[in-house]
């Protein structure tokens, strides 16, 4: 009887999703608070500290914007891929590839910043695109699962970064470990330590939203994702669209790497991707396939990362943030599914419902 009292809708209303997501986040926070209390930390003091040092301070807000910048781009990278029904789990690797290509330009090209930065930007985008080329072609022409191939390349990119930063490009000036020297050029700063990459990332995300919703190309991508058979029947070259979307996705993640290396870190470093690629998946999920939603989603994710800094000062390891992100993602996945259910009058005739 109980199973008959709910009806599953094909698509969930946005309002219901919002309510259930808030419930999911609150529930996650309660679980986290419980675990923290059990391990001898006071959740209330910690929450107070986190609020004061993230939203309540200039430095916290600057860090928030710096965290948001790569998350906006990796989140958009995963979102555009998702529009055509594919998962790019390799934004982390494309991020490194973009950072490596941009660093190569910065170290090899001598000139004034206004000349070097555009070349670095193009190199970063091309680096990210190059990194997703093999998964793209394998997906488009042989139907090979892109989740696994994009992901495996993350490990290779991370090893390549390690090789470059300990070998040919190692820091010979200050001797920093697993790092190149400080790059000669940097993206100019606009507000404290926040560089111009941040507004550019926001503009890119808004532009993508317009392209996806207002152009023929965007329309074909959305149809290709919603119903590949119908798209093919309507004469949309689905294979070409898959290739263009995946390359765009790789380029966005590569640009995130370029911004990070030229605007925030100023060096190529092992581990500098900081899970931004993987967290881009979380951002994309929160955004539910809409590029405009990427902005608030990246803000939420950046808040979590920003709180992570505070937690580290309280003897909680950085990995706790990853676990917390996982828990929130898990709860939201369940919440999104529950949002599809609508209570119906339990007087439904029995035979009809099954």
């Amino acid at each position: 009887m109980a199973a008959r009292a709910f009806q599953r809708l094909p698509s969930a209303p946005a309002g219901r999703i919002l309510v259930l997501r808030l419930a999911a986040i609150v529930l996650s926070l309660f679980i986290i608070a419980g675990v923290l209390a059990l391990s001898g930390h006071s959740p209330v003091t910690l929450a107070e500290l986190i609020l004061r040092s993230t939203l309540g301070s200039r430095f916290g807000l600057e860090d928030l914007a710096l965290f948001m910048c790569p998350l906006l781009l990796t989140g958009a990278a995963v979102t555009v891929c998702g529009t055509i029904g594919l998962w790019n789990i390799g934004a982390e690797g494309q991020f490194y590839a973009g950072a490596i290509a941009a660093t190569g330009v910065a170290l090899g090209m001598h000139g004034p910043a206004p000349a070097v930065l555009p070349v670095m930007t193009i190199a970063g985008i091309l680096g990210g695109m190059a990194w997703i080329t093999v998964p793209t072609l394998a997906r488009a022409y042989a139907g090979v699962n892109e989740i696994i191939t994009t992901l495996l390349l993350n490990f290779i990119a991370s090893l390549l970064t390690y090789y470059l930063t300990t070998g040919p490009w190692r820091d010979r000036i200050s001797g920093a470990q697993v790092s190149t020297q400080r790059l000669p050029v940097a993206i100019p700063e606009m507000w404290g330590i926040v560089h111009w990459g941040f507004p550019v990332a926001i503009v890119i995300v808004i532009g993508l939203a317009l392209v996806l919703s207002r152009t023929r190309w965007g329309y074909e991508i959305r149809i290709g994702g919603a119903n590949p058979e119908a798209a093919r029947y309507a004469g949309i070259p689905v294979r070409l669209r898959i290739i263009s979307v995946m390359l765009l996705s790789g380029g966005l993640a590569g640009l995130a790497g370029m911004f990070e290396v030229a605007g925030t870190v100023h060096r190529l470093q092992g581990g500098m991707a900081n899970n931004f690629g993987y967290l881009g998946i979380v951002v994309a999920v929160l955004a539910r396939g809409s590029c405009l939603n990427v902005i608030p989603a990246a803000l939420l994710m950046a808040l979590i990362l920003d709180s992570g800094i505070v937690m580290q000062t309280q003897q909680l390891s950085a990995s706790v943030v990853l676990a917390i992100t996982g828990l929130i993602l898990f709860m939201i996945a369940i919440g999104d599914e529950l949002a599809h259910y609508r209570p119906v009058a339990s007087t439904t005739p029995k035979g009809k419902a099954s």
Binding site: I89, A138, I156, L159, T325, I334
Partner: protein, 312 residues
Amino acid sequence: MIALLTGMLATAVLAGGVLALAALGEVLAERAGVTNLGVEGLMALGAVTAVMTVSSIPSPWIGLLVAGLVGAAGGMVFAFGAVVMRANQVLCGLATTFMGLGLSTALGHNYAGQPVATTFGHVTVPLLSSIPVIGPALFGQNILIVPIYVLLPALVHFVMFRTRHGLNMRAVGENPAAADAAGIPVMAMRFWYVTLGGAMAGLAGGYLTLTYVPVWSEGMVAGRGWIALALVIFAGYRPVIVTLSALLFGLVTALSFVGQAHNWPIDPAFLNMLPYLGTMAFIIVPVVVWHRMRRVMAAPAALALPYYRDVR
């Protein structure tokens, strides 16, 4: 040459065991129609809990048991989301990996970098271990090699393809609506096979720290869970082939060790890329070269699709 071959095979068998266990578990889950992308995280949890257990109870068996139980618990958490609540399997899997990796690092903080207290020692089977080349690899290492490479795959193969229960389980993965109509409990079947798969991922993690790499460090699972997922696709969801491909994969890993030991003029970073490059080649090349492969090795028809009895 013989010595080199013997050594390489021994390393390959040892390294491949981690993948064989995890991939066999994933075959069970995927044949029942559920993709568990949480393997990487469950392996990390198994690896760290095995280390923690043997540091207070000096028995590798109990360590392995705890790793398996923790893996099963993690598998149940995933299955609660992906099977019972029918939430998106990709998301639940990624979330499980995040939680597993994060928790394992937090738990293992005080154990990082220390040698594991008790590990599975060498067991040499008389006579069998003196077979040239394969003897030392199969019968001259730890006691888990034969169960992992022979007993478990044989058992899974028999149950899956020779029993009614196995037929039912595969039906759940191919056509859950038909299976449901035939009276097979779809949700229970999926839930318990995902849990079993999680337990085997946990065991794989325990095997990793109790035999092959006896020290816990953050990120030590290093993508082996993802490689195991790729092997399942490569092997066309078949238990015996997946075990053999894990061994093949172990050989690729062994090659990078041999390269480092013999000072090949390649940077170790590139040799360390071999397993990942090898996996890429494993899943791309066969499909490109031989198009029929796509149909022969096809995934279960209802893989990663939640089953709704009430929605048509």
